[in-house]
């Protein structure tokens, strides 16, 4: 296990799976952790932020939630500790790039599932543009920023567009609703709270196909 503080309230855990564990996952999936809190196990889901090719290591990322039992428990874990989980679970996934422009929209730590999905889209796509709009209040909140910049430098069809402190909904509306009449794009949206459903409703309401707008709300 390795523990990395990526921001004052945000941490990644790099977990090593036991030998002989046959664990495979699809980019976007999560593990369901059983955390011994208050005398019983509570169930908390943590998305796998690493790539399937990294197994037997997996990485999860989370931020400290005030009064959050699960996040406080995880913050107390150190090297050598054991974390019990089941999985992988979840249907917000990307196994093969769609045959269309692929737009990822992420907000803060909710970039976790997008990271392996983006890599898979770049590895399996057939020439369509791939974009990442990544919103955070400030630059320190852009996780994996250097990696995304490096990806953009090596993949000409990939564009990385961080958005610091801006209005994500208005930005997406300008680009993909008011910007043109193309409604063939596929969207993968992950964020925290009501912004996710607002983005879903904006894009579907603008004429993008229901199943072309995939999302996960944290």
């Amino acid at each position: 296990m390795r523990v990395v503080d990526v921001a004052p309230d945000t941490r990644t855990l790099h977990l090593r799976l036991p030998p002989d564990t046959h664990f495979r996952f699809t980019p976007g999936q999560f593990v369901s952790c059983l955390l011994p809190v208050g005398g019983s196990d509570i169930v908390r889901a943590y998305t796998i932020a690493s790539h399937p090719e990294d197994v037997p290591a997996i990485e999860i990322v989370w931020n400290l939630v005030p009064n959050g039992q699960g996040s406080h428990y995880l913050f107390g874990l150190g090297i050598g500790d054991t974390l019990r989980f089941t999985g992988p679970w979840g249907t917000f996934t990307l196994d093969q790039a769609p045959a269309a422009e692929c737009v990822f929209i992420a907000d803060g730590t909710a970039v976790a599932p997008i990271r392996p999905m983006l890599r898979r889209a770049l590895d399996t796509g057939s020439g369509h543009a791939v974009r990442l709009h990544y919103a955070a209040p400030r630059a320190a909140g852009l996780l994996y920023d250097a990696e995304f910049r490096a990806d953009a430098a090596t993949h000409p069809r990939f564009t990385y567009e961080p958005l610091l402190g801006g209005d994500l909904l208005a930005h997406i509306e300008r680009r993909y609703v008011a910007g043109d009449d193309d409604r063939t794009r596929h969207f993968y949206v992950c964020g925290v709270g009501a912004i996710v459903h607002r983005l879903r409703d904006l894009l579907r309401g603008a004429g993008y196909a229901r199943r072309a707008v995939q999302y996960e709300k944290w």
Partner: protein
């Protein structure tokens, strides 16, 4: 009092529970008074890999009776149910389907609640 009859596709014996709906939540996962809340609070296991936060399909149940007494499914739940194995017209996610009135309900817990790996 509300009466909930629970059938299991895997052949486990059926369970019937009766409870006072006004005492919800019965535990801490899923919406208060949801099927997941009621089942877990009465010692009946239902998978809920995401913690009961409408982010997976493992708490999929099929409602056989009393569907009209449950809260209406929102778009997020319907999008997830699209991906549930063994989907039926009366499928619901246990963590989202809230019992709104005293009533009698019958649900089936499917054999498979499996992930999409």
């Amino acid at each position: 009092m509300t009466k909930l009859r629970v059938l299991f596709e895997n052949g486990s014996p059926e369970r019937v529970i009766e409870f006072d709906l006004s005492r919800a939540p019965f535990q801490h996962d899923g919406r208060p008074a949801s099927l997941l809340d009621v089942l877990l609070g009465h010692g009946i296991h239902l998978e809920h890999a995401c913690g009961g936060n409408c982010a997976c399909t493992t708490c999929h149940v099929i409602v056989q009776g009393g569907l009209g007494n449950l809260s209406e499914a929102e778009e997020n739940e319907l999008d997830l149910l699209d991906k549930a194995p063994g989907l039926k017209p009366t499928s619901r996610l246990g963590c989202q389907a809230v019992i709104e009135d005293d009533c009698e309900l019958t649900i089936v817990i499917p054999r498979f609640t499996i992930n999409a790996a």
